[in-house]
Each structure stands twice: as C-alpha cells, then as structure tokens.
Amino acid sequence: MEERLYRSASGAPIALRPRQHSASCRELAVRCPRLQLRSLSAVTSAVWLAAYGLFVLSENSMVLSAAIFITLIGLIIYLHFVKIDQESLLVIGSLGIQVTSSYASGKESTTFIEMGQVKDVVINEAIHMQKVIYYLCILLQDPGDPQGVSDIVPLFQSSKPRLDCLIEVYKSCQEILEQRKTAPQPSGIK
C-alpha cells in the first residue's frame, strides 16, 4: 500500500506504511531514514584522522590498527544494537498487539502484548532530551484494579514521529480497539 511521508520530532523524514490485512488486523510500519553514506564516512574519517594524529605524536603503529578495529567493531555494534530501520505495530483485534523493531543488520526484536492486558492506546506528552514531544503508548491493565494502569509501553521510541503521524496511527489502533469493545466475547476459533 502507499506510503505516507512524515517527519520525526528531530526533523528527519520518516515514512508510515499502513497495511490492512483484514477488518480486525492491521499493520503500521514506520520506516526511519537509512544510514547515510555521508555520515558513515564522516565518522570513519574523523576517527582515522584522530588516530593518525596520535600516530604522528607517539610513532606507534598500534594506534592505526586499533583505530581500524574500533571503527569496524563500532559499526557492527551500531548496526546490530543501535540503528533501527523500521518499527512496526501489528494490531490484531482478537489477539493482541505485536511491536517489532528491525535493526539495520536485519536483527528483529519483538514483543507481544495480549489483548487482555491492553487497557488503551493513547498519545501522551513527555520531556525528552531538552524537548517536549508527543508519543504513542500502550497502557497496560493493572490485574488488581480494573481502573488502574500498571505500566506504560512507549511505541516508536527510535523514530519518534510527529503528532500528525501519531494521530494517524492512533486512529487506526482505536478503530480496531473499538471493535473489540463492541464484541467483547469472540465466538470461538474460525
């Protein structure tokens, strides 16, 4: 389906791709910008230049090989544990919500929240890194208290979409959550 372009809270372009699998199953994927060759080469050359400067001062060639290893290992760690390419939210009305983040290396980490635990999906405000941003989060039902919220799961933590994008996602989620409320007892497995 068609992608819609938005911006993140820091101004980077992001794309939202909604996918309708069925009436009560919907996937919302937010794609962050890919790693830019420009920033990669900038960081690499900065590290290597620093290493070369040290080498000139200390005349020890170990510095140069260490710099190469540091950039390589750093890049692997960055791609594998830090850089997230896509964050997606799969909402299935009768089952639950699955949150997936795909790292640049291809690694995926997935959390699943059962529908019974989901109290609501809301947009909230938070102070984050000298900024006040809106974010989407799942409120978890407190098992002891039907009115209470036991925990909050923030969504799209890496891409941080702006409010217009969040409202879009929020509306899709609410449509499915509304269906659950109107038909609370699913009539068995199809």
Binding site: R7, A9, S10, G11, D120, V122, I123, N124, E125, A126, I127, H128, M129, Q130, K131, V132, I133, Y134, C137, L139, V149, I152, P154, R162, L163, I167, Y170, K171, Q174
Partner: protein, 474 residues
C-alpha cells in the same frame, strides 16, 4: 465561562515559578488560583515549574490547567540553580509549542522565574512579573538580590506587587519607573474560610497562631508573649499551627513554664486543615517581622477571629482598622494589643464572627484579582517588546557600568544560543500543542458537564491526552 469572553482578546499566558504545588505556600496558591480564574475568563494558561521528586513531566490539574514539571536541579530552598542559559532549550520549546504570548513570572526568590523572563525577552515575548515579598537594603545578600532584580526587571514590560508597601519597596530596590508597577492584592477563597462559633470553647480564650515557625515570622516574639500572658490570664490557651526551625524555641518555653495543657503545637498543617484550626480560636495573632501582604490575617478575619498583628510591611493596608489591632513588633506592644483584644472579648464589644465574615468576604476575591491581572495583560499586549539593541542600551544605562555590561554580554550570548537552537530545531518542526484551555481548549466544560452520551462521542484522543502522564523519559 465569563459572558462574551475577555474584552481584549484571549491571551496565552505562561506562569513561571519555582514554587508550585505540591509545595505549599502563598505563592503556590496565588499562581494556582489566579490561573484557575484566568481559565474561567477564557484565557489559555499553563504553569511551568521544576520537578518535585517523582512528579516530573506534564500534568493536568482541575479545569485543564497544564503544568510542566521540568527536570531542573534544585539548589536551595526549592529554588533552582541559575546559569541563565541551561533552561533556554526547554523553555523555548515550551513557549513555541504552546504559542505563549505573555510570560508571567512569580516571586523574586525563584531563579527559574528570572531565567524565564530573560529568555522570553530574548525571544521577543511580553513579560509580566509579580513580586510577592519584601526585602531589606542593608545586608550583603539583599544588595546582591536587589542588583539582580534591577537587571531582571529593567526591561520587563510590567510588574505587579501585592500591596502599596511592596510596590514602594520594589520600585526602590529595582530602580523602576513606578508607572509600570501595578498593585493587585492577594485574595482568599471566602467559601473556604467560614466562621463556625460552635467549634470554639467559650469557657476559655484561645489565641491561634498559624505560620511557618521561622525567624521572619517573629516566633521569638511569640515565645516572649506566651509566658507573660499565660501568667496573667489563667483561662488563656494557645494553639500554634505550622512547622519550622523555630519550633524548638516554643517547645523550650512550654517546657520551662509547664504549659503543656495550654500551649498546643499542631505541627505542619495541610491547607484544608487551616480553617478547622482557625475556627477553634477567638483571637488570631500574627507576629511577622516583614510581610508584603499577609494572607493569614485575611483568612483569620474571614473565619471571624479578632486579629492582632504587628504593624510591618503591607499589613496596615490589608484590613480596616475596626477589624485589626496593630502593634509594634515588640513583646510589650503585642501583649498590650492582646490584652485589649481579650478585654473587648470579655465585654462583648467585638462584632459577631458572621458579620466580620460577611464584611471580609467582599474585600479580596480571586475573580477580582484575575480581572485586574487581565487588564495588565491587555495593556502589555499593546506594548512593544524592546528590540535587541534598545535592550542592550537599557541594560547598560540602567544597571550600572559593571553589571550592565556583564549582563548585556549575557543577553548577546543568550541571543546567539537562541539562534543556534533555532538552527538546530527550527520552530516549524516543533509540534503545536493541543490547547487544554483557552478559546480552542479541548478541556471545555462540555466534556464533563454535558450529557453522558455526548461524552462518549467525543474523540477520545483528547481524553487520552488528558490522562495523567506517569511516564517520563529523559
């Protein structure tokens, strides 16, 4: 909603103070009540303060009053540290996303208020400052604070003081043009402070003291008064509410003169309990050594008590002469005043609590305060904000050769920092916050007062945002 809305158009006001709930005190309740009445009059109001323990992030109070608890370090006495710069990124973000037009800072003890004024002027916003306290001129700390106040207020659009004494004091301290200083007294909520003569024991005479037990409130005078009067009048009881470092002085007095059954120390009082303490007494005693506007005596008079107070600061302006007995701040004079009050009480020449309450009720109301503050906002909205070059000129000509140049340099640096921030995150990528209050407020009365069916129809995104936020990342 006030009929027809505010006359001069709705303002988007940002109240900034280090002091706000859950901290308790005069400034805190002033900011809260004023905000509530301005919301009622159709303005958009938000409060910015620093984080109190776990209470950080964004919260909503009654009627959609939005409060930002910013994670800034607290230095001393609940006041944040000031570097003049570190709070700019967050404050600028808030001013932009909330489309603030007027920044209203409170209390000269609050570093955050001064920071906000400084940043607001750099950003070209209108500024109003309310001073809640009186200062001296003689000691080193006063000289320093006064200098800072001069710098902070020399280019502020308008200043509000709580009494004429306070105005005089502020004008002198900050070398201001008296024309830009208005006097708007504090108010009390008269429905909170109603008399209840059945609660008091008429067999004895009870003197109530409710104040923080600190030097400024004259607790040392109180410790001299208690034994003297207790010896003279065997049916006299004291009821002291409040907590503070001087409590030990009162405990010593109680111990030495064996007055455990006649002097009760209640410790810290919640605001809602103050009335229950006040109505148990016949006479209210205020021993403050300095006071810009004494809320406590208005509250006491509203509860129908005979007030005895020191004649300091703005106190003589607060109540008419037939409701208050004024004394010099000395043990002897206060004892004379109290004896006079006791004599009046015995002879029954004191007006009944009901009549006193009905009289005081009309004096100070928050709606009146809000109305007058609104006029200040209207006036300020028509004024121009000083452009940078004039601001620098004002700083240099107004604040002395050394301080003036230093702060002019700071103002330039602040401007450069702001330009840098604008380049990093342009205003266009800052999301405009959804208004909770004001003309486009999502938190209007129909949400709660409308029919139940109607509440369900509303887009729940709005409701969702009103949920108290618990999560805060930083």
């Amino acid at each position: 909603m006030a009929a027809g809305g505010p006359a001069g158009g709705a303002h988007s006001v940002c109240m900034v103070s280090d002091f706000f709930y859950p901290n308790m005190g005069g400034v805190e309740s002033h900011v809260y009540q004023l905000s509530q009445c301005l919301i009622e009059r159709g303005h958009k109001v938000l409060v910015v303060t620093h984080a109190y323990g776990h209470r950080k992030g964004i919260r909503y109070l009654t009627n959609g009053l939005k409060v930002y608890y910013l994670p800034l370090k607290v230095m001393y006495n609940q006041s944040t540290a000031t570097t003049l710069f570190h709070s700019l990124p967050l404050l600028r973000y808030i001013f932009v996303r909330e489309r603030v037009t007027i920044v209203h800072a409170h209390s000269s003890f609050s570093a955050m208020a001064h920071d906000a004024l400084f940043h607001a002027k750099t950003m070209g916003l209108r500024t109003v400052f309310t001073d809640h306290s009186l200062f001296g001129f003689a000691d080193v700390s006063s000289v320093l604070t006064n200098k800072l106040l001069t710098v902070s207020l020399c280019d502020t659009n308008h200043i509000i003081c709580v009494s004429y004494t306070s105005k005089e004091n502020t004008v002198l301290r900050a070398a201001l043009d008296p024309r830009i200083v208005s006097v708007i007294p504090n108010a009390v909520d008269p429905t909170d402070f109603t008399p209840d003569p059945s609660r008091r024991d008429d067999g004895i005479i009870t003197i109530v003291v409710v104040s923080r037990l600190v030097y400024r409130k004259g607790i040392d005078l109180l410790s001299g008064i208690i034994p003297e009067l207790c010896q003279k009048y065997p049916e006299l009881h004291f009821l002291v509410g409040g907590e503070g470092p001087k409590r030990i002085v009162l405990e010593e007095v109680r111990e030495r003169y064996q007055l455990h059954d006649r002097v009760r120390l209640l410790g810290a009082l919640e605001h809602q309990d103050v009335r229950n303490v006040l109505v148990q007494g016949h006479i209210f005693l205020n021993t403050s050594l300095t006071e810009a506007f004494c809320m406590a005596i208005v509250e006491a008079a509203s509860c129908g008590l005979q007030v005895v107070s020191t004649r300091v600061g703005g106190i003589p302006e607060v109540l008419p002469e037939n409701l208050i007995i004024l004394c010099e701040p000395s043990v002897k004079s206060l004892c004379d005043g109290l004896e006079k009050a006791i004599a009046q009480l015995r002879s029954g020449t004191i007006p009944s609590p009901e009549t006193v309450h009905n009289k005081v009720k009309t004096f100070y109301t928050w709606r009146n305060v809000a109305e007058r503050t609104e006029k200040v906002y209207d006036r300020v909205a028509d004024e121009v904000v000083l452009p940078m070059d004039e601001r620098l000129g004002r700083l240099m000509s107004h604040c002395g050769p050394v301080t003036g140049y230093i702060f002019a340099l700071f103002a330039v640096l602040n401007f450069l920092f702001l330009a840098f921030l604008r380049w990093m995150t342009p205003d266009s990528i800052i999301d405009v916050a959804i208004d909770a209050t004001g003309p486009k407020g999502a938190w209007t009365k129909q949400y709660f007062w409308g029919k139940k069916g109607r509440v369900k129809e509303l887009p729940s995104s709005k409701n969702a945002q009103m949920k108290r936020k618990e999560h805060n990342s930083h």
